[in-house]
């Protein structure tokens, strides 16, 4: 199977380019009879859409989802669910000057080597615009997860060197949606916003960290040996544009610890088996154990900046590349719903897969 699909049973395929006519997604394998709240899905898209606040790109897209199959009388029918988003903002002229040039740390060069051809308009298929299609699928997955009370909440925990020191358990994650940077700690959020504004003014960009917490996952999700729950979560996150790192549970900090410090003792809490600590991040042997799942995702600073940069063109000549116009100084706030969407797709997929674990 080629690379534009994800998931085994909750199976999605995305299509469309940044400046094509539309982008879209086909979701195959969603059980029949699920009520679809289109407003909820649209709201997920609104959280991702460009131009939503002063610190994101000012590119204008209303990103209205339209479901074109798989839903009848408000419910899924078992047929593939297809949804599209028309592209509104696709003036080709913006990009004509980039046709023969390779932007540093973009996919321009590697795509052209691989395919021998490149849709240079706004990155074409390599544009993060593709992730809007994922957010639609993630919205459907969240509606399915609601049946199991599984909740997913992501938030920005780092923008450049502004790092939120608190653990998720010390935070009210609902506060993340109360500010434009999506950091649940107000003081930290303000610093982050300030940093992003500085970057925009400099014509530069900045990276950061998104943290994500999944609660109420039933024990038993995940398929050894290769499709461990965290392995699929990791792949899902690393497939998002600009992501360069993933860790769950004790993560990289666990690497410096001793077993006696890192092991999670089991305990009986009112008749339920829990672990007293949760360095395992809710996953043991690749299978969820019922505790909270949590992980961090590292985003590099986006490659598009408004500074002159050295590069080469197709003729391999050294050039100076200058880009003007809109840019997104920090993608983290808009990436929060993308992280949640991919997490929801992985969880929905594993919920379905787990139906067959026992006779």
């Amino acid at each position: 199977m080629p690379g534009n699909s994800f998931g085994q049973l909750f199976h999605i395929t995305t299509f469309g380019e940044s400046h094509g006519e539309m982008i879209g997604v086909v979701i195959d394998g969603c059980p029949a009879g699920l009520e679809i709240d289109v407003g909820f899905v649209q709201n997920e898209l609104d959280r991702r859409k460009p131009g939503q606040s002063s610190i994101t790109t000012q590119r204008k897209e209303s990103d209205m989802v339209k479901f074109v199959s798989g839903i009848f009388n408000g419910k899924t029918t078992g047929a593939p669910i297809a949804a599209i988003i028309p592209n509104e903002d696709h003036k080709e002229r913006d990009y004509e000057n980039l046709k023969d040039k390779y932007r540093p740390s973009h996919a321009d060069y590697s795509y052209e080597i691989k395919y021998g051809i490149r849709d240079h308009r706004g990155g074409g298929r390599s544009s993060a615009r593709e992730t809007a299609a994922r957010v639609i699928a993630g919205g459907i997955a969240k509606l399915l997860l609601k049946k199991y009370n599984v909740t997913i909440a992501a938030y920005v925990s780092g923008v450049g060197e502004i790092i939120l020191k608190k653990n998720y358990a010390e935070l009210n994650l609902k506060n993340a949606e109360k500010n434009i940077v999506r950091c649940p700690d107000e003081g930290t959020a303000k610093k982050m916003i300030k940093l992003i504004e500085a970057m925009r003014n400099e014509g530069d960009s900045v990276g950061g960290i998104i943290s994500c917490v999944i609660k109420n996952t039933p024990a038993g999700l995940g398929e050894p040996a290769f499709d461990k729950l965290h392995a699929d979560l990791g792949k899902a996150m690393l497939s998002i544009n600009a992501v360069h790192g993933f860790e769950y549970g004790s993560g990289f900090s666990g690497a410096v610890k001793k077993g006696s410090q890192n092991n999670d003792a089991f305990s009986n809490k009112k008749g339920k088996i829990i672990t007293k600590t949760n360095f395992s991040g809710g996953i043991q042997g690749g299978i969820s154990n019922g505790m909270d799942i949590y992980f961090n995702v590292a985003f590099k600073p986006v490659a598009t900046i408004r500074k002159a940069q050295k590069s080469v063109n197709r003729e391999k000549e050294n050039i100076i590349l200058e880009t003007t116009g809109r840019h997104d100084p920090c993608v983290l706030p808009r990436a929060v719903p993308i992280v949640e969407a991919m997490a929801a797709i992985v969880l929905a997929d594993h919920l379905l897969r787990n139906k067959n674990s026992k006779v």
Copy 2:
């Protein structure tokens, strides 16, 4: 497809439990006509085998590979390659006392919840013994990669708080095989060995970091949008027992940087397009660009320790769990060939997949 397979075109399926009769692997999709150097594959296994040095587990397994199909007159035939390793050390009595207990931070509890049944002998399927089968497949993948001059070298760059500060480019990676901890810097290696010995004496364990470098990868490998090269590498690594984190290129450290610091300027070097820096880790837009690929893998300390720990049994009663006998205070040295094997499988798979990128 259930979870015991990995790879699209270079497709492997592993089977076997820690204390069953044998473990094995089926490799389907390896092109015909590849010469198989069985000694090379056995050597890869020897690098992973228990009891190889004073700092690894003293469990005795000779781990002799036997190919039983897919090879004729020393070459692959296009038929599935199957290989087995008989298990020599499978006395059940060692584990009888653990039958009803859940070892902290092992897969005991989550497996039992998922499957309603558990092979308690040494972890059964969840044992890291399964990775020996991966090393066989990785050996075949390496033989295929040799045709393309692709080389893969992993090494231990951290054991607990002993961290190798040097970048891979400053090291002679061949030195990694010259000491038992597989760290290419002799001074650091000594400190690591000392720490591991201390852990063994304490009956404790310690985590660490393995770094991996892939050279001479042709540009063009990786399949957008979901099967980005680094996403598949990440999943491959996260599927290895005890791995809790993955980062490539600038990784988590890139999250604190600005775009102007992190972007890799293209340049013409004697007619070849290169990047002056390589924060992209050799992968842009999910596709290799011909530069070195490098990544880090974080291992938690292994859960098996010889200290008394709190836990519960199947009756949900609180218990004190004490394990005696052999244990592996630090799996990192033996995990080096596993990391390489999984990297080789991913690269081989993407080399085959890339054959169809252009008409």
Copy 3:
């Protein structure tokens, strides 16, 4: 992977219902750089479209294809190719009376049992309208096959008891497109047309046989043990609505023969290895041998007839069901391009898969 996708490397996913807003297809894995002749694809659709002649259904659909991604400047880019066909003729009222009834030999009952919900409008997803999406994908596959000189020609060789006795080698297959029933023998075609007209007048339907010939297939296509070339062709054909049988080469008639009658002797013809006879149908051991591939596909008479029929409703009450309006007395003429499309998809897929058979 759920059931709405087909093909491993030339991988298609269809979506849409008979009376939804549109139907469509995503083709993932088509190599980049392929020139797309949209007129050619539209012509394939025109061969399938309803209302094309006096002997097909008079339902009106112009079936105009619109490519919305994956093509740039007339060539494929390696990104998924998505195409849609808006549904023009979707008045719901036509079907309201069927809402609670199960039409005999339709998918009404089995869909409702499976999914607990049914889109009753014209069969919803189970409608043969879905095959229009396959014809688009088949058109792209044919354009790819042209690069290898592979040609595919299907024709109607039986309508009810009017059977074309001649072998494909005795026929000029180009004549199939010269009459509305798509039978290359003019005399037989006239009888078939007459029979179909009689069926329409009776309000009845009739089944038949489509034969298909694939020429210039390179030797080596097909993947043992399960993905034998003819096994994939068989599945492809059996997945088409109303198909109840498939045979290739000597087929069912070979079952009554002796080995000495049925074996194909190899021979050297001007330096090329051929077989003197071709009862193998161009496939031996599941792999093409370079000779013509040929097969037959049996279609049952379509279930929609304008006669009163006994059935039951959702309340399990016995009812008499009468359907009025348009019906298609014989789907064979319109199924010819569908058979070709599915054959083209299988061949394109195996051409790509075969790229990795040797080192």
Copy 4:
């Protein structure tokens, strides 16, 4: 995924060659907790094994199955089930003279073109010996199906021109196991045996038909649009060596009928919805409707005969090929358990897949 695997959730991978050390199968996805009756599986193998009667090949293989993983204390654990059969009869010298020659209607030539290399010993991977591995997997699938009361019975309904005219409903299918040709009608069985004996004496072979009936299938199995239940059954059958045709329900005979003759009227039978006739073969729109599933499989006469035949060698020289020694004049009796095994695997797979059809 390469071609040696079959099934989505009940997923099997076979390996091994005719004259290698062993053949085997890995079954991944079988639910945990299933009791495994090894004697039952061995009995299935005994029904397929060579030398079982006077009318089959006299090649000697005891075909003893050995399960090496996935089963603990007599039950499946959710881990992959691996089983092997050692090859006992693999003297290479038998085949040395065929090394450079292409046997007519075997896979010799097409394999060599595809892979550039050929294991000439007894057909290597292309040998029907591979199907023994399928019979093991089919045995496990049958044990799973027993939980749902699904039963599968195949029988020989044609050997050359000796055709059993009766419908399955007129026969006592249990009688099939009472004679060596596995035809449930004694008189017909005798004629078939006589014909096969004549073929053996002539050094020739003969083809035939196997019919198969599946009872008690729950309604709802099958996945539109491509993985229709009969499409997967068809592929499964066509993947068996020597099979050239498949039809289900009214099959090819339905092609000559009118809709009014072929439609199956629904009816209420004691509160249960049934169809009065069953030309649909228990499958409508690709989904089982609860009625009996039945289909026919056409086998060509096996290619190995003991008559002089014209062929060519690797140097493309015309040769006369004479084979001596054992041969199987008619594979049909031994293919009965293979047909059942593949049917069982398809049904088991679809039973698991169907668990997710509704919320």
